[in-house]
């Protein structure tokens, strides 16, 4: 080889076009749809590649959500992956913990998680068996039909088992009165409304999703696109559907008959349900008390709590059921400032306060219910906070203060294992709290059938 040829070879830039296609797809799978559209215009070859739904858009879905759900099973593997991408982008916002808002309920907590080819919503409540278990009751199923329509079902009885890759009401083979088709509409990023689909078909028209506050607003608008692109075809189908009350795949008279039957069965109309996202469900190194916790305040009832940090250094703990009431009264379980803590080792006076108390244990776990054992267990205290059970400023000896300091004052003991306990000076108990979830999973889930 001549030297000149070597020099020439070394100065030629390698091109993206020289890569094998699978390498190109792997690189492109990291881009957003906007970047893809800019890239697509670079050459004829790439216009074609970027239009290839099964290759490119599948890679993009797989890259973002492949580890969480079975991309090729959604819509029975028959849908456009471009549609799936935008759908999953919306569903992704749901994953995590939400709480019911504006209504008094004893099951306020809801957890959304990825399923094999759907997103599942479950109500989560404390077990009544006297253990630390949480009970998870699936009630909402969200997916896509093989025709690419988004469908959501409310399953009040919690019986549905999604084993088939189908989400068509007709194909599900369950008694219809059990399932309620619903729309899940986003009102901004942290608020959804689940309401019954008036037309009775569970086909949530994409256009009916409030896009006002969607995170990827520009990409949502991409979907309602200009003439010729797929989204617009979908939109016109949707308009047709509402105009003619004819579903893309159904038979008008069969539907009417089913609806009459449902009405005859006296099916209750579901009120819309509002949910607000629990933005910080887990503790962090900077905020070790933050998140969703569970514990026993007496020896028989497990309760859920939410501890939040505010912008001015305050930390408040509330019962979850209280938080969800309309016009929720602001009395917290306890309140403290994150500057009021003392690291171990504690003074002997404080050690005494801790040691002389009894940890409340559920009856099922205590060897003898009435055992008054000093806390000689393995809990190692990392640090301690002063706290109050009231927001009222508690100044000792201040004449006219409505709160007796001793009534309101208490302690929080943070343990080495990441959990914490709290107690008030007015009594001799310690309430120990544990995390409800970790790493995206709910801990200690009871068998539903055990309830």
């Amino acid at each position: 080889m001549s030297t000149t040829a070597d020099e020439v070879i070394n100065t030629i830039a390698l091109s993206f076009t020289d890569f094998p296609e699978d390498v190109q797809l792997n690189i492109l799978s990291f881009l957003t749809p906007l970047d893809i559209s800019n890239f697509a215009c670079t050459s004829k070859r790439f216009v074609t590649l970027c239009r290839d739904d099964r290759k490119l858009w599948f890679s993009m879905c797989e890259r973002k959500w492949g580890s969480k759900t079975h991309i090729n099973k959604w819509g029975n593997g028959m849908i456009s992956y471009k549609i799936l991408y935008y759908t999953l982008l919306q569903y992704e916002n749901l994953i995590g913990f939400w709480r019911r808002s504006g209504v008094e309920t004893d099951v306020p907590l809801v957890f959304f998680e990825w399923g094999r080819f759907y997103v599942a919503g479950s109500r989560v409540k404390p077990s009544k068996t006297g253990s630390y278990d949480a009970v998870k009751m699936p009630f909402l199923w969200m997916g896509i039909t093989s025709k690419g329509e988004v469908v959501n079902y409310l399953d009040p009885v919690g019986k549905l088992e999604l084993n088939e890759n189908v989400m068509n009401l007709d194909d599900l083979g369950v008694v219809e009165s059990d399932l309620v088709p619903v729309n899940v509409n986003f009102m901004g990023k942290n608020h959804v409304v689940v309401e019954e689909n008036g037309s009775g078909f569970g086909y949530s028209a994409r256009g009916s999703s409030s896009s006002s506050g969607n995170v990827r607003e520009e990409e949502y608008e991409d979907l309602c696109g200009s003439p010729g692109s797929l989204p617009d075809k979908l939109m016109s189908e949707i308009y047709q559907y509402f105009a003619n009350k004819t579903s893309p795949g159904g038979n008008g008279s069969a539907r009417r008959q089913r609806r009459r039957e449902r009405e005859r069965q006296g099916r209750r109309k579901w009120e819309p349900e509002d949910y607000v996202k629990i933005v910080n469900p887990l503790p962090t190194p900077d905020r070790p008390l933050q998140g969703l916790w569970k514990g026993f305040c007496d020896d028989t009832t497990l309760e859920f709590f939410l501890v939040s940090y505010d912008d001015i250094g305050g930390i408040a703990c509330r019962r979850l059921v209280e938080l969800c009431k309309p016009f929720s009264a602001y009395a917290p379980v306890f309140w403290t400032s994150n500057t009021t803590f003392i690291r171990s080792p504690l003074s002997s006076e404080e050690e005494n306060i801790y040691e002389s108390r009894m940890h409340i244990q559920p009856l099922s776990e205590a060897d003898e219910p009435c055992e008054v054992l000093p806390s000689s267990d393995k809990r190692v205290i990392l640090c301690m906070h002063f706290m109050n059970s009231s927001y009222d400023l508690v100044i000792p000896d201040l004449a006219g203060s409505t709160v007796n300091p001793r009534q309101a004052e208490g302690r929080i003991w943070q343990y080495e294992d990441g959990t914490f306990g709290f107690g008030f000076l007015r009594d001799n108990y310690i309430i120990d709290l544990r995390c409800i979830a970790q790493n995206g999973q709910i801990l200690e889930v009871a068998d539903f059938s055990g309830e």
Partner: protein, 153 residues
């Protein structure tokens, strides 16, 4: 010890235990090869590949933070170098390196307009001006509501 030979005929002697991170080399070693010519990998790139494999050979927990730092710095190369690494890692079947390279390369064209992407990726435009205009119109849906502010950096 295994001997690798680059396309420039330079040779490198490396322990087998380090080299089996490459699926291709692993197969050849299992077939009892001790001298492995790599006509598609030049010396400069091979040196980098060996550096990567040496660092990743010892994957004990304590080294994990170290390795992450190394990986971050390793990606700070010119695009041409990264492309050369992709070709080599693809041929040698070093999947952990490829998984690092893909997003790093994708990053280079994030938020860039089409012409910038062509220059960065050395893609030749084969459209007539008329065709190009039509393609951009077709793709306009993606730009609605956003300002087209690309950079040529």
């Amino acid at each position: 010890m295994i001997t690798l030979q680059s396309s420039d005929k330079d040779v490198f002697e490396i322990e087998q235990s380090i080299l089996i991170q490459s699926g291709t080399i692993k197969n050849m070693v299992e077939d009892d090869f001790t001298f492995i010519p790599l006509p598609s990998v030049d010396t400069e790139t091979l040196i980098k590949i060996i550096e990567y494999m040496k660092k990743h050979a010892d994957k004990t927990d304590s080294k994990e933070k170290n390795i992450k730092e190394f990986d971050k710095d390793f990606m700070k190369k010119t695009l041409n170098e990264l492309f050369a690494l992709v070709f080599a890692a693809n041929y040698l079947h070093i999947s952990s390196l490829l998984e690092l390279l893909y997003p790093s390369i994708a990053d280079r064209i994030k938020d860039k307009i089409t012409e910038a992407i062509r220059q960065i990726f050395s893609i030749r435009c084969d459209f007539t001006p008329e065709e190009e205009r039509r393609i951009i119109m077709d793709n306009k849906w993606a730009h609605e509501g956003t300002e087209i502010e690309g950079t040529l950096d």
